[in-house]
Each structure stands twice: as structure tokens, then as C-alpha cells.
Symmetry: C2
Subunit: 318 residues, 2 copies
């Protein structure tokens, strides 16, 4: 049993998860609870406090040395503020770092969820000791992060760059970001589901898989149907993989990292995308030896954010 | 008169230029000569040696402390090798750093030309003391560079990322890089000239401006004709500016620098592009406050590479 721990928090739009970690990255305990964000930040913060107390207890550790929080953004890491009315409705200017610091009298760090997921993979996952690690998380959206020598790369004013909104095809669908055909609008889960719902499904097994309700078709079902050879599903996955590959080629040309880690729900079907990606990389290797960039599936799954949140506070207090 | 100098070299496909610099960035003398690359690296290196001796003499300085070289790439900065059969025909595996080190017994640094141009703007141009400075050079190609805290950002194995080959529209023209519709294929000088040569020029002044020879139409002429309100020229500049803006929006989303410096021959007509750019930035400011990213024309013109080459060796020996 370890006598000193930090706690990593992964705050998403529906759930909050907490893990207790030793300094060498051993996860001693993990728990999660619904966040019920719409009830407002005050009850949400109390819920997080209770979760921290429970997980500290469960870990059996004497000392809590710090708390790291990875949150769905936008967030302000410098002032420790969540400002996210999009996926955490009502959470505007929420001083979560100050609140937890007061509650537990320990240092608190707040980072963007895509950044902590990448940091987790750097600390204990697929990207260990990779000097320039890029992470792409494909789920409800497309999140990106760049880890340089184990540090989060930040843009102007400490902002988190939004590589998922890089434009890949200006004739593509509109996105809430203001662009047409950005990476997210072409490749995220909802983009895959939308295409399936709008497709001619007369000769497809998709509708049957969705219990006859077209609204129940999601990206996971499309991937499953594609695995079974369903033609409309295969066509949608092919098109998505084509665009996904352009996004990766753009990362290689603009950032040229040693490794790109692929995570998120949609990338649980990474095997469906990789053949297209290999072909695209072979066809775009003239300026940069793109084939030397390692493409790796994320290893920590849903826990990457917890590991990264813990790492961000461990590296602060060490 | 300064007693100690470094010499910055800017090696291009047609000319080589040298400047003598004091440690605070004063350029004491500058000269240039054709490189005649096709005669091979051996005569080329001797020509560079003679140019260095001439400029050292002209500067009146006693001590030469180092030589910085910015060269058209691909180059290997770690081993000081030029490996560029494209714009320096016959220059494959040329150990320019070792050669100059032998000749002058001083430290020598070799960097990519886009990187040194950006460093020059950081040292003495538009980007002074900018923490995250991105530079886009639009001429025969589109070159990019990222300067972080005054250091060149390097990719895997020290490679220079090729942001000019980021794909902006997969239905665009083919590029030698393997892509369709990369930034360079849509916005570099040759792309502008090609569109004009292929346009219906019956009611255009372009052909007259080119002395009746369609092959003499270049990007500079198209910009001039657009300034005069020539409809085909205006249409081409508008389309180019549209794509150029997408390239900048992508830099803002993926890198989020404080400033983007625009240089190169085509950007001498930056005023024709900036109205489009402002509109695009206003339309894509939801995820990142893009309007806060400063867009600035390069200030050092053709000398940016010289300044940057000098800076790279000054910062090594200091």
C-alpha cells in the first residue's frame, strides 16, 4: 500500500470518474458517478468532492498530495476555470481549481480532456518516452493534443489548439465551428451516424440492427455492419477513413510527430481505418518520410484521461 | 566598427547571398552572386567561400566567430548536409557545414531556408519577442516555420515540417508532394500563373501586359492586373485568397500561434489577400479567438534569411 497518492479526475459531459495514483503511475482505485451537469456547478462540485473522498478512502493512502482534473473544454488552465456551457450546461466561469484547493488544502491542476488523455498515453500508455507525441481522439467530436517532451503544447494565451476543426474539404458538411468540412464534421461519431441515417437502407442490415428505428443508428452500429460486409455501411466507413487519413496526413506535414496515438470511441474500430491510412501514408511520403511516423492505438482506453490528470499534478508537485 | 562578426548565408536555387552581422543584429555588409548550382557542389562551395571572404573583408571586422547557413531544402541540420537535387541539381549529400568549418575554422550551423527566414523575423523583424511565431512564405512554393521561444520547432528526427503541403481541398490540382489541393498547389506563384494562362483572356489586359506571350504571365502580373480591376485576374486572386485563408485558419486551429508572419514574393501583394483573410477569420472564431492572432507582413523582405542564418549561429556560440 502506498502512503502518498494524487487523485486524477476525468470530468465529461455525462460522468465524472476519479482514480487514485501512486507517483510511479499505479492506479490503486477507480470510481465514477453521473455528473448531472444540468443541475448546475454547485451540486456538481459537491459530487466531485464526495467522489474524491470516497476514492481516497478506497485507496487506503494516508496522504493526498494533489488533485489533477481533466475536463471537457473550453477551460482555462491558468486560472483553473471551467467555461463550458456546451457539454456542461450552466457551467460558465466555474472556479473548480480554487474550490477543490479550498476543500482539500492541496495543489490542484486543471487541463483540457484531450490534453490529459494524451499525457496519460505518454506516462503509462502507447506513447511512453516519445519526444513529440500527437493524440487524436475520435468520439462525439475530434480532439487533438500535442505533447512535447512530456509537456502539453499550448497556443496563444495558454489556449488548447483545436486540431479537430482543421478544414479538410471545404465542400464538406457545415460544423458548429463555422467551417465546412472540418475533420470533426467529416469523421466524428455523429458524422458517421448522420450519413447512415440519410443513406438508402433498403438493402442494408443497419435498420434491422437498430431495431427498425433509424434514429438508433450510431457510429458503433455502422462499424459493426461494415465488418459484416453491409454495402452502405462499408461505403460510409470507406469515405470516413478517406477523410480521416487526410487529417492524419495533415498532422504529419504540419507537426511531423514521432507518433500519433488514436483514441476515443470511434477508434475502437481503428482496424477498419488503418488499411486506408497505410495507403494514404504511402501516397504522401514525398516531402516527409510519413511511413516512419508511428501510428498506434491508445492503450489506456477510458482511463487515459485519469492517468494524464494524475500525471499533470504529479509533475507539478515533484 | 565592430571587431567581431558572424556571417549569414542564404543559399537559394539561383543565387547565394551573404551578410556580416554584429551580435545585436546590425548588418554591416551584404553581397550576392549566382550559385550556378548545375555546375555541381564543388564549384558552388568554392563560390560560397569566396563570397564569405569578400563580405568579411567588406565588414572591416577582425574576428569571424561563426557562419550560419540557410539553404533551400531538404537539408539535414544535425549533420550539416544539403541533400537537395530538386532546386540545387546535383547537390546530394553535400557536407556544407564540415566544408566551411574546415575552410574558416569556425562553428557552422545549417538550417532550412523557411526556418531561418522565420528566425530573422523573430530576431529583428515583425515577430520580435513573440513566444509562438508562425511564418508562411509564399513564392515558388509555400514554406512554413514555427518558432517557439526563439527556437526552431523540429519534427521527428529533426525534420522540417512541410506545412505548405497541408491538404486544403482534395478536389484541387495535383502536387508533386503526392496530394491534390495542398496549400502550395492552390496558392503558390506557379498556381496563380497557371490559372491565368488557362483562363479565357479575351477581355483581359493580362495578355497585353505580358507582351502577347501567355507564357510570360506570372503571379506578379496577375496581382498587378487585379489591382487595375481586370475581371479574370480579380477572379483568380479571389479564389487564391479564399484558399490562402483556409490555410491560415488551419494554422490557427492546429498551432494557435500569437502571430503569423507572411513573407515571400506573392505576399508582396498581401494587401490583396488580407480582406478575404479578415472575413474568413471572423467566420471561424468560434473554437479559438482567431481574431486575436496577429497577422503581419514580413519586415525584412529578401534579407530575412540572412538575419535568421546569422541569428542561428549567434545563438549557438553565445
Amino acid at each position: 500500500m502506498s502512503s502518498e497518492i494524487v487523485i486524477g479526475i476525468d470530468l465529461g459531459g455525462t460522468h465524472v470518474r476519479a482514480g487514485a495514483f501512486t507517483s510511479n503511475g499505479e492506479m490503486l482505485a477507480v470510481q465514477e458517478t453521473p455528473i448531472e451537469a444540468a443541475r448546475g456547478p454547485e451540486p456538481g462540485l459537491r459530487r466531485i468532492q464526495n467522489l474524491i473522498e470516497a476514492i481516497w478512502n478506497a485507496s487506503g493512502a494516508k496522504m493526498l498530495l494533489g488533485i489533477g482534473v481533466g475536463s471537457t473544454g473550453p477551460i482555462d488552465p491558468i486560472h483553473g476555470m471551467i467555461n463550458n456551457p456546451f457539454t456542461l450546461p450552466g457551467w460558465e466561469n466555474v472556479p473548480i481549481s480554487a474550490w477543490l484547493r479550498n476543500a482539500f488544502d492541496v495543489p490542484v491542476a486543471l487541463e483540457n480532456d484531450a490534453d490529459v488523455a494524451a499525457l496519460g498515453e505518454y506516462w503509462r500508455g502507447a506513447g511512453q518516452s516519445i519526444q513529440r507525441l500527437y493524440a487524436v481522439t475520435v468520439g462525439t467530436g475530434v480532439g487533438t493534443a500535442l505533447i512535447l517532451d512530456g509537456q502539453i503544447y499550448r497556443g496563444m494565451d495558454g489556449l488548447h489548439p483545436e486540431g479537430g476543426h482543421v478544414i479538410l474539404d471545404p465542400s464538406g458538411p457545415p460544423c458548429y465551428c463555422g467551417a465546412h468540412g472540418c475533420w470533426e464534421s467529416l469523421c466524428a461519431g455523429p458524422a458517421i451516424a448522420r450519413q447512415a441515417r440519410q443513406a438508402d437502407l433498403h438493402h442494408s442490415i443497419l435498420l434491422e440492427m437498430a431495431g427498425g428505428d433509424v434514429e438508433k443508428i450510431d457510429a458503433r452500429l455502422v462499424a459493426e455492419a461494415a465488418r459484416l460486409g453491409d454495402p452502405p455501411a462499408c461505403a460510409i466507413i470507406d469515405k470516413t477513413a478517406h477523410y480521416f487519413s487526410l487529417g492524419i496526413i495533415n498532422v504529419i506535414h504540419s507537426i511531423t510527430p514521432e507518433m500519433i496515438v488514436l483514441g476515443g470511441g470511434v477508434m475502437k474500430s481503428a482496424d477498419l481505418f488503418l488499411p486506408h491510412l497505410s495507403k494514404a501514408i504511402a501516397a504522401h511520403s514525398i516531402m516527409i518520410p510519413a511511413h516512419r511516423v508511428r501510428i498506434a492505438p491508445a492503450q489506456l482506453g477510458n482511463y487515459a484521461g485519469l492517468y494524464g490528470a494524475a500525471y499533470t499534478i504529479w509533475s507539478t508537485i515533484k
